[in-house]
């Protein structure tokens, strides 16, 4: 029983990370109908940025956290301005391929800047004593991850449903021209969405770095898993992203625990295939289909 609990708790921790990355995909998708395949790279830049500011330059953790997230958000803005905005015919497919290119570019730059070695980052709390829950053990950082993810999830939900800016962003996604006619500055909304989603990725990078360590190539797999989680939960639904992430994390962990450790990455992609065949809108994504 304690074995089962350990697998589930491990799954929830990893799943929360996937969920947070999925959230980044969602924010951008909600505002622009775009899938940004450089999302994983923002996670990597957040982690490595936090390492440089916090560990190398010795900034206090909170300042390094905020600065790393801020810088990556600016990079998100820059990506939109430099690489996506100037495209003459902004077909979704063209834009998505540009983001794939951006991800390769960012990875290359990170490799030049930080080298190929992985780096270790200190946790948000100094204690490395595991927390014991009914025979299973959890790192304190895992609690931070789950807490921060829940906080961001709630915040985003409220932002989307309760604020004018949030609603304006959604309006842009539904029909950009119509929103523009109604007086919504759609260009600015798109920029905001890019900054927000890049920042979310960076938050993910900062909070997982103490557990996973960070290196220039950590983003690819995390980005793909986050994408799977977003698809599983239903693209565009924030709660779907959380659910998808946790479900994926727990499935992976149980797969490793009860079947074979080789199956871990296969689980994510089998789930993605399954969901695309059976329920293409995702578990909580029905609303997204009705929208058009």
């Amino acid at each position: 029983m304690s074995e089962f609990l350990q697998f589930v708790l491990t799954g929830i921790t990893t799943g929360a990370i996937y969920g947070l990355i999925a959230l980044g995909f969602n924010v951008l998708y909600n505002a622009t109908d775009l899938i940004n395949f450089a999302q994983g790279e923002f996670v990597m830049l957040g982690g490595l940025g936090f390492y440089t500011l916090g560990t190398v330059l010795g900034w206090p953790a909170a300042a390094a956290f905020a600065a790393a997230v801020g810088i990556v958000s600016l990079l998100g803005l820059l990506l939109e301005r430099v690489a996506l905005r100037p495209v003459k015919k902004p077909e979704p497919l063209t834009l998505i391929i540009i983001t794939v290119g951006a991800s390769i570019f960012l990875r290359g730059v990170a490799m030049r800047l930080w080298g190929k070695d992985p780096y270790s980052v200190a946790g948000l709390t100094a204690s490395t004593e595991p927390v014991r829950i009914g025979g299973a053990a959890l790192m304190p950082q895992s609690l931070w991850i789950v807490g921060i993810v829940v906080a961001f999830m709630t915040g985003l939900h409220l932002f989307g449903k309760r604020t004018l800016t949030g609603k304006a962003m959604e309006a842009c996604a539904i029909h950009r021209n119509a929103a523009w006619i109604l007086g919504i500055p759609s260009d600015r909304m798109v920029l905001l969405a890019f900054a927000l989603s890049a920042g979310l990725g960076a938050v993910g990078g900062v909070i997982i770095a103490p557990i996973t360590m960070c290196s220039y190539d950590m983003g690819t797999m995390l980005g793909l898993k986050g994408f799977c989680a977003a698809m599983l939960g239903g693209l565009g639904s924030h709660w779907g992203a959380a659910l998808g992430g946790v479900l994926l994390g727990v499935l992976e962990s149980l797969g490793v625990g009860y079947f074979s450790s080789g199956i871990k990455d296969a689980v994510a992609f089998l789930v993605l295939l399954g969901i695309l065949i059976v329920r293409p809108a995702g578990l909580l994504g029905a609303a997204a289909v009705k929208r058009f």
């Binding site: 074995e3 491990t10 990370i17 959890l138 450790s261």
Partner: protein, 386 residues
């Protein structure tokens, strides 16, 4: 007509003069250098291997020439970069053989690049001393292929010997699912019965995995006496941290793949008490004075750091050992490749960086389990184990 032909004759004369100038001084040298080739992954993702190998080869050539060369003839190294790419390795080796006419080749740095060039050197019969670790390079033995890097076989043997001495009988293994981990797993499974060791649980993890608690929980359930993890950074550091997290207190053995200060930095506190096999260069200062390799190692470390301003590692030693053994084998052969090959096979008790080499027709690596020493990480640094 006669007037028009004149410039042509002048050109001819000029060409002849130039040719004479080029050829002249060459003929004046009585001792033409012995040319040997080097192919390393000097740039690209495995430059951490190729770069020190290139530097060490140049250093070894310098040492040999300073002592008067081989039979009075200097050695000249022609070195090409493979960028870790098997195709480029093949091109470089072809160029060394057909254009540069080298007598022997040192390198490549990686197992895949070495496997790619082996058929060529076998066909044209040029001795090759690889700097890669894979056991497939010398097993089965190919007449013209040798290697200097220690293989996994010896690392596993060193771990199992230590376990046997300390009464460890049941182990769990956790290996990474790439070439390094799979090869390590095969050796762990193959050699276990020889040392009376039983593998009670066999698990694996992906190179980019961020959490191994699920695998470790399963291993813990089988109550092993120790755990062996086989991978390169950062996975093994995660394993060390996860074991702490689970309160799983049995000894953890790691592979030589993480024998570097980087691992201690990554695993932090969780690195304490981890045991692993390593080449002697990492612990040269700790070796007893009676160790025959100590003097050679210290000289190599000092010279390398002096010449290149630091950055010494065990990898450069592969090329350094290769060059010095090749120099021994070339003595008295007059540049006959078959004779060089025969002499390489007869090298005995060559004290090198990676170990003490004794080649035989059946063993083209020539190292024993004593090429590795077991160390334990204590207070963030290495401590020799017996």
């Amino acid at each position: 007509m006669e007037r028009q032909a004149r410039p042509w004759i002048i050109w001819m004369a000029a060409v002849v003069a130039v040719l004479g100038l080029v050829a002249g001084p060459k003929a004046a040298f009585s001792a033409e250098p012995y040319k040997i080739g080097g192919v390393f992954s000097i740039t690209g993702s495995s430059s951490f291997l190729g770069d020190p190998e290139k530097k060490s080869l140049e250093m070894a050539v310098g040492e040999i020439n300073a002592q008067g060369g081989i039979d009075g003839r200097p050695v000249e190294a022609v070195i090409y970069d493979t960028e870790g790419d098997p195709t480029k390795a093949v091109l470089a080796v072809n160029k060394l053989i057909s254009k540069d006419n080298v007598l022997a080749i040192i390198g490549p740095s990686l197992t895949p690049t070495t496997l790619a060039v082996m058929p060529i050197v076998e066909r044209v019969q040029v001795p090759l001393i690889s700097c890669a670790a894979g056991i497939q390079i010398v097993e089965p033995v190919k007449p013209y292929v040798f290697k200097t890097a220690q293989s996994d076989v010896l690392a596993v043997a060193a771990i199992y010997k230590h376990m046997q001495k300390h009464g460890i009988k049941k182990i769990g293994i956790l290996t990474v699912t790439n070439a390094f981990g799979v090869s390590g797993r095969d050796q762990l499974v193959k050699q276990a019965p020889d040392y009376g060791i039983q593998i009670v649980k066999e698990e694996a993890y992906g190179a980019a995995d961020t959490d191994m608690t699920a695998q470790l929980t399963k291993i813990k359930g089988e109550n092993p006496d120790a755990v062996v993890c086989w991978g390169t950074n950062p996975g093994p550091a995660v394993v060390a941290k996860n074991m702490r997290q689970l309160g799983f207190g049995v000894p953890l053995y790691q592979s030589h793949g993480v024998a570097s200060p980087k691992f201690v930095e990554l695993a932090g506190e969780a690195a304490e008490g981890i045991r692993l096999p390593t080449g002697k260069i990492l612990v040269a200062d700790l070796l007893p004075d009676a160790d025959p390799q100590k003097a050679v190692l210290k000289k190599y470390i000092t010279d390398f750091n002096q010449r290149y301003g630091g950055g010494v590692s065990g990898f450069g030693g592969y090329a350094y050992d290769a060059m010095h053994m090749l120099a021994k084998a070339m003595k008295g052969t007059g540049g006959d490749k078959a004779k060089i090959r025969d002499n390489l096979e007869k090298i005995a008790n060559h004290v090198g960086i990676s170990g003490i080499f004794t080649m035989t027709p059946k063993d083209h690596n020539g190292l024993g389990a004593d090429a590795f020493v077991m160390v334990e990480i204590r207070n963030g640094t290495w401590k020799l184990l017996d």
